[in-house]
């Protein structure tokens, strides 16, 4: 029972960063582009939280953590569109650029490339809301304010995608940009806004990670952006699916942490599991889709995101 409660209590802090980033990935998938830069954007969020927060307090830090990655993502898309560069390659560069810049700025601002700790940035735990309950207690009580804040941003992103005119337009842009042309909406603008949302959500993820430990640690995201991306694909690029897949991964990782107590499985192999599962799902999904739809040009259908050959 206590093991179970332990897994549950770990589920939430593990879930928030992955979920927020996954929604960020979903935002651009809605408009039909893969934002490979989630990892970099999470780091941008985490670093901004600490860099701005240590100067002007955690509230300002949180705002910066949202604003900076949003701006980066928006610029990233603007550059890709205006310079006709491949969106995918630009995303890859952002993944290289952000850790480099963070390290450089960290050196300039704090005189270290390493850990920047500021205990005042560590987010406070909320009071235990539901003390007596065995399951809900650990799940809902005793969690960090920052996690709840980041979760609200994630929820906001989900709401924007699901229930606003923007979400509708984004989906239309991803399915058939011409439908927007007839509606008098510029698909490029929608794409830019989707990137903006993507950066915002990733920023929330980064802020949650940094606030949980009250510090900037190089490589803060530690692969969570990739897992988020994988969750989007495992969730079939749909809102509900992405939520479920994120939850499944968070559960898997929490279980893996708990399983270490048993010394049964090496940590590295557990870390490989989400990727292996998703690879199987992606291939099986493609196979089924192809079996269902025989009239597809075999050996044709290159993905749109090809390198400039």
């Amino acid at each position: 029972m206590s093991q179970f409660a332990s897994v549950l209590s770990q589920l939430f802090p593990g879930l928030v960063p992955i979920l927020a980033a996954a929604l960020g990935g979903l935002a651009t998938e809605y408009v039909g582009v893969l934002n490979i830069a989630l990892e970099g954007l999470i780091m941008a969020g985490g670093f901004s939280y600490v860099a701005v927060g240590s100067a002007w307090g955690p509230e300002a830090g949180f705002v910066a953590a949202l604003a900076v990655p949003a701006a980066i993502a928006w610029l990233q898309d603007l550059y890709a569109r205006k310079a006709r560069a491949d969106a995918f390659v630009v995303g890859l560069s952002v993944n290289l650029l952000v850790p480099g810049l963070a390290s450089l700025l960290s050196q300039l601002l704090f005189g270290t490339k390493g850990v920047v700790a500021d205990p005042s940035l560590a987010s406070a735990r909320l009071p235990r809301l539901l003390p007596g309950l065995p399951v809900l207690g650990p799940l809902f009580g005793l969690q960090r304010l920052s996690d709840w804040l980041a979760l609200s941003v994630a929820f906001l992103a989900a709401a924007v995608l699901a229930w606003t005119p923007f979400g509708l337009r984004a989906r239309a842009a991803g399915m058939n940009p011409e439908s927007l042309e007839l509606a008098g909406v510029r698909p490029g603008r929608i794409r830019g806004q989707a990137y903006l949302l993507s950066g915002l959500a990733c920023g929330a993820s980064g802020a949650a990670l940094a606030a949980a430990i009250g510090a900037w640690v190089p490589n803060l995201s530690a692969g969570r952006g990739w897992i988020a991306l994988v969750a989007v694909y495992l969730g079939a690029k749909r809102l509900g699916g992405t939520l479920l897949a994120s939850l499944a991964f968070a559960l898997l990782l929490a279980l893996a942490n708990a399983a270490q107590a048993l010394h049964s499985l090496p940590a590295d192999l557990i870390a490989a599991a989400p990727f292996a599962v998703t690879a199987v799902v992606v291939v099986a999904g493609a196979f089924l889709r192809r079996a269902k739809r025989p009239a597809v040009p075999a050996g044709g259908g290159n993905r749109a995101g090809r390198p400039p050959a």
Partner: protein
Amino acid sequence: MKRTLVALAAVAALLASCQGRTPARDLASVAVFVPGVASGSPIYEMLVAGAEKAVAGIPGARLKVIEGGYDQSTWLDKLRDIAASGEFDLLVTSNPALPELCAKIAADWPELRFFIADGYLEGNPAIHTVLYNQAEQGYLVGYLAALVTMDRNPGGPLVAGLVAAQRYPTLDRLIQPGFEAGLKAVDPGFRLEYREIGNWYDANKAAELARSVFDAGARVILPIAGGAGLGVVSAATELDRSVVWFDGAGYQLGPDTVVGCATLAQDRLVEERVKALLEGKRLFGTADIVGAADGYVGFDPGGPAYAALPAELRLRFETAIQDLREGKPDFTLTGF
């Protein structure tokens, strides 16, 4: 066109003047290679501080600090660059993994000399190493962890945690056995909860693992995790549990959380040895092991959380420190 020629000539002249530099005979130019990041890492901060003090005492000696970052697979290239730059006579560093790498460099650059603290390699004529008896350090924090656990949770489970970045020989052979020996010296019923992060940076995962250790009943954790150790401290702070720290100067990370902090007199050691080497002492080829008896492994009682512990507990612990200095229990190492 003309301008290009002039520029080329200038570059050529510059190159020629650089080539003409005569290499120094004596050891005078020191490179400190930090296999990680100095700031925030006490043992590396002491490495730098000790080397700086030593160099300051020798007229004409120069010092340059180069940070290698946490990615161990890049260290060899970086060391090679330092050697290849031809700027340095003595390379000072500190990490159990470094002797092997430095031996590779020494094979290619025979005139370069190495001093490695916290590592062990005997018989290489270019390399001098000094190993800390990490088992003693582990024993100290283990003993304290056991006392704190029993004080905080009388009659509770006899469990303490060790959250490590990844496994490596010093951890397996010295730190962990020492830590367990410390726990069991207080009560043989103690059990160790070991967790592994998989890298030296994922502080969030460290925090999650620490929580699972605390959930398993532990009151105290020893993190051996570099930057990720911060996650253990923040988890302990939140859950009102405790952390014992390794390698010194951990109190400021969590004034109410870090109940004790074992120390290495790395700054003193590095200063002494570098100074000796620069003065021409023929130590290369030898490997020393230092420990509690000669004061290089110790304990820093200056933390607020330590001061807040019950006086009798502190008394018992300080007795244990004294015993260790006198060889009880005996962790003597003859080699590694």
